[in-house]
Amino acid sequence: MAPQAPVIRLRDVTKSYGVGAAKTQVLRGVSFDVDKGELIALVGQSGSGKSTLLNIIGGLDQPDAGEVEVLGVDTLAATDKKRAQIRNHSIGFVFQAFNLLDHLNVLQNVTLPSAFARDPKDVDGRGREALRRVGLSDFANRRPGELSGGQKQRVAIARALFGQPTLLLCDEPTGNLDSETGREVIDFFRELNAKDGVTLLIVTHERRISSVAKRVIAMKDGMIVETTDEALAAGSAGPA
C-alpha cells in the first residue's frame, strides 16, 4: 500500500518583513511534514516565527521562498481562489483573539464560512451541530459580547469545525483563557483528533498542549531547533 501523502509539506520556507536595515528574517528555511491525523504542537518564544509559519500553511500569508504544499495543493502556485477554497472547505482556524464578529449572533458567526461556499447544504443545521459539539447549543442567538472568554473560544472552534475540516490550525488557542477553560479546550482538541481524525497544528506556549501532542516542534529565531518525535520525513530541521 502506497504511503499516504502528508497533509502539510514544507521545504526551505523563508519569510522576512521590512526592507533594508529594518528587514527582519522571521523564517529561515523551515522544512517538515505533517501526516494525516497528527496533533502537533509548535512551540517557541515570541518572535520565533511559529505564528508566521502557521499563517503561511493556512494561506493567510505568503513566504518569500520555499515550497508549501497543503492537502496536496502547492499553495504558492495556487490561485487566490483556490487558496480561498481550501480555507473554506478543508482548513479551520482558531485564533487567540477569537475574532468573532460582534454584529452577528453566535450561530451567524459559526456559519460565516457558508457565505463564501457554493450551494452550502443545511447551513443552520450544521451550525447548530457544531455548537452542540462545543457545548453551546443554547447560545445560538446570543451576541459574542454576552459570552465569557471560554465561550467565545468555543464559538470560534465551532466556526472552525463548521466546514468539517481536515486540518485545524490553532494559534495560541488557550492564550486568553483561564487554566480550567484552557484545559477543556485542550481536551476537546485531543478528542477531535482521536475520534474524528482531524489533523491539528497548534501554536502554543501551553505545556499541557505539548504534553498531549503526538509531536512537538520547537522553533527559535525562525528555525526548527528541536522535534521530540521521530526524524522528519524529509528535508532538514533548519538551515545548514
Binding site: N55, L60, D80, A84, F93, A97, N99, A115, F116
Partner: protein, 509 residues
C-alpha cells in the same frame, strides 16, 4: 466567488450596522444628486418651453434678399426647388410656405368687442399634412373648397357694405340682426319680414361652420386657421391686460369652450382691404369678404400672425396678384432625417442652390441652453465628485477599522475579489440610497419652487406651470451617477481591503 445573494445580505447588513459611516458617506451624494436632478429637470423644462416657441426639428430654407432699383430680385422658391431639395438623402420632407402677398383686413367679435386687425403680412399658408397637433386640428385644418362638399349649396349673400368695410358674420351673441345674408325659409326661398324687408342671418345649412360667399353665391366652409402659442402669450401678456380682456387659459380648448366653442372664434377677412394708410399695392381683383375660423393652436403656425392651408393662399394670391405670386413660396420647411446633417445640408444649399437657412432663434437658444445645462451639470458633478472623495476617505477609515473583520472573511474562505465586492457593494448601496434621497429632495425642492412661482411670480409670456420636467432618464441618471461615483470613491479602499495580508489584518490592532 461569493454567491450574489450572500453578497447582497452581507452588504446590506454591514451598511445598516454602521449608520454614522453611512450618514457621513451619503451626505455629499444626497446634496450632489439633488442639485444634479434639479438642474437637469429645470434645463429640460426650460429647453422644452423654448423648443415649443422655436421648434428645432425643422429648418426653414429661404432665398437671400436681393433688390435692384427698389425691385425684389430674390431667387424664386418654387416647386422645382422643392423637388431638388427632396433629392437629398438627408432630407425627410420639404414643405413650402407661402405668404399672403396682398393687403387683407380682419374683423371679429371677441368678448363683445369688435376687433379689427391686419391680416396682410401676418398670414401664410402651409400644407395641411404638416399641422397634425390634435384631432380637432386634423379634422378641421384642410382645404375645404377643393373638396366635393355637399353643403356648398346656393345662398344669397348680404348686400355689400357701401364703405366696403368688412362685415362681421354671423352676428355675435348680443349683436342681433346684423345683415349677413338673407335667411332661407323651409321652401329654400329667401324670407322677408312683414314690411317686405329681407330677414338677414346666416342662410347656410350649417351656420356654425359655413358662410355665404359673395363671389359664387354658395355656402363655403370657413377657412380654417391656426395660430402659434406665441400669439396666445402675447395676448395674455400684453393685449388682454391693456384691453381689459380675460386671460386665456393655458388649456386653450378649455378657454374656448367656456366662450361657446370654436364657432365663437370666427372672424371675417376682407381680401384686398387694409387699414394701413398709404398702402399702394395694386390688386387685380375687387375686394371681397371670406370668413375664417380659428381651429387650434399650433407651433407650426407663423409666430406672429395666422396660418391656413396653403391652397387658400395660392388661390387668393393668384386671384389678387397673378400667377407669379401663386407659385412663389416664402420659405421651404425642411425636416432632416438626422439633425447632425444640418451643416452638410446648409453647405449644399448655399453652394448648389444659392439659398440659405433662416436664422433660427431656436438653435441659438438651444446652444445657450446647452451651455447653461453643461455648466449646471458640471457644478453638480463637482459636488458629487467631492462626495466621492469623501466616500473614499470614509471607506479608507472603515477598512482600517474593520481590518480584523476583513481578515477573518479571508480566513473563512473569502477571495480577494469577494472582499473587494463587499466593500464596493457597500459603496454602491450608500450611493443608491443617497441617490434616492437626493432625487427625493430634488423633487421636493422643485415642488417648492413651483409653488413659489405660482403664488409669488407675476404672470409673463410662456410662464410655465412647472419649472421642472423630471424625465425618467433624469431619475435613472441621478441614481446611476450616485452609485457610479460612490463605487468610484470606494474603489481604492476596496482594493486596499482586498490586497491586505489577512495574517497581518488578523493580528494587528
Amino acid at each position: 466567488m461569493m454567491p450574489v445573494g450572500n453578497l447582497a445580505r452581507m452588504v446590506v447588513g454591514n451598511t445598516l450596522r454602521s449608520r454614522r459611516h453611512f450618514v457621513l458617506s451619503a451626505f455629499g451624494i444626497v446634496i450632489g444628486i439633488a442639485t444634479f436632478v434639479l438642474f437637469l429637470a429645470s434645463t429640460e423644462q426650460v429647453g422644452a418651453v423654448l423648443e415649443k416657441i422655436f421648434p428645432l426639428d425643422q429648418v426653414q430654407v429661404v432665398a437671400p434678399r436681393a433688390s435692384l432699383l427698389g425691385k425684389d430680385i430674390s431667387k424664386k422658391l418654387d416647386d422645382g426647388i422643392v423637388k431638388t431639395i427632396l433629392t437629398r438623402k438627408e432630407v425627410a420632407s420639404a414643405l413650402p410656405r407661402m405668404n399672403l402677398t396682398f393687403p387683407a383686413f380682419g374683423r371679429g367679435d371677441f368678448e363683445g368687442n369688435d376687433l379689427k386687425f391686419e391680416v396682410g403680412g401676418f398670414a401664410d399658408g402651409i400644407d395641411p399634412s404638416f399641422v397634425r397637433d390634435d384631432e380637432r386640428v386634423q379634422a378641421q385644418f384642410k382645404d375645404w373648397d377643393s373638396m366635393n362638399d355637399p353643403k356648398r349649396v346656393a345662398c344669397v349673400p348680404p348686400p355689400a357694405s357701401p364703405t366696403q368695410e368688412v362685415i362681421q358674420s354671423p352676428p355675435a351673441p348680443g349683436i342681433a340682426n346684423r345683415p349677413v345674408g338673407i335667411a332661407l325659409g323651409p321652401d329654400g326661398q329667401p324670407t322677408f319680414d312683414k314690411d317686405g324687408e329681407p330677414i338677414y342671418g346666416n342662410p347656410c345649412p350649417d351656420p356654425d361652420e359655413y358662410y355665404c360667399d359673395s363671389i359664387d353665391n354658395r355656402c363655403h366652409h370657413r377657412v380654417p386657421v391656426v395660430m402659434s402659442p406665441t400669439m396666445i402669450e402675447l395676448y395674455n401678456g400684453q393685449f388682454a391686460k391693456s384691453h381689459g380682456l380675460p386671460i386665456a387659459d393655458t388649456d386653450f380648448v378649455k378657454f374656448v369652450t367656456m366662450r361657446g366653442g370654436l364657432s365663437a372664434m370666427r372672424f371675417s377677412i376682407g381680401l384686398g382691404l387694409t387699414t394701413i394708410a398709404g398702402s399702394n399695392t395694386s390688386i387685380q381683383h375687387r375686394p371681397r369678404r371670406v370668413e375664417a375660423v380659428l381651429v387650434g393652436i399650433s407651433a407650426k403656425a407663423m409666430p406672429i400672425g395666422m396660418t391656413m392651408p396653403i391652397q387658400y393662399i395660392e388661390r387668393w394670391n393668384r386671384e389678387f396678384q397673378g400667377e407669379e405670386a401663386a407659385t412663389t413660396y416664402s420659405s421651404i420647411i425642411v425636416t432632416l432625417k438626422d439633425k447632425t446633417q444640418l451643416a452638410v445640408f446648409a453647405q449644399w444649399l448655399q453652394e448648389k442652390l444659392d439659398l440659405r437657412l433662416e436664422d433660427s432663434l431656436g438653435q441659438k437658444f438651444a446652444t445657450v441652453m446647452f451651455v447653461i445645462r453643461l455648466v449646471l451639470v458640471l457644478i453638480s458633478l463637482i459636488i458629487i465628485a467631492i462626495s466621492a472623495i469623501n466616500i473614499a476617505h470614509n471607506f479608507f477609515m472603515q477598512v482600517t477599522e474593520r481590518r480584523r473583520e476583513l481578515g477573518l472573511l479571508r480566513a473563512v474562505g473569502a477571495t480577494q475579489h469577494d472582499v473587494r465586492m463587499v466593500v464596493l457593494g457597500e459603496a454602491a448601496l450608500i450611493g443608491l440610497i443617497g441617490g434616492l434621497l437626493g432625487v427625493g429632495i430634488g423633487v421636493l425642492l422643485a415642488l417648492g419652487v413651483d409653488y413659489a412661482s405660482a403664488h409669488y411670480l407675476p404672470r409673463f409670456p410662456y410662464k410655465p406651470a412647472t419649472w421642472f420636467h423630471f424625465k425618467w432618464w433624469i431619475w435613472m441618471g441621478g441614481l446611476a451617477c450616485a452609485a457610479g461615483f460612490a463605487v468610484l470613491g470606494g474603489y481604492l479602499p476596496a482594493r486596499k481591503a482586498s490586497t491586505m495580508e489577512p495574517a497581518q489584518a488578523l493580528t494587528q490592532n
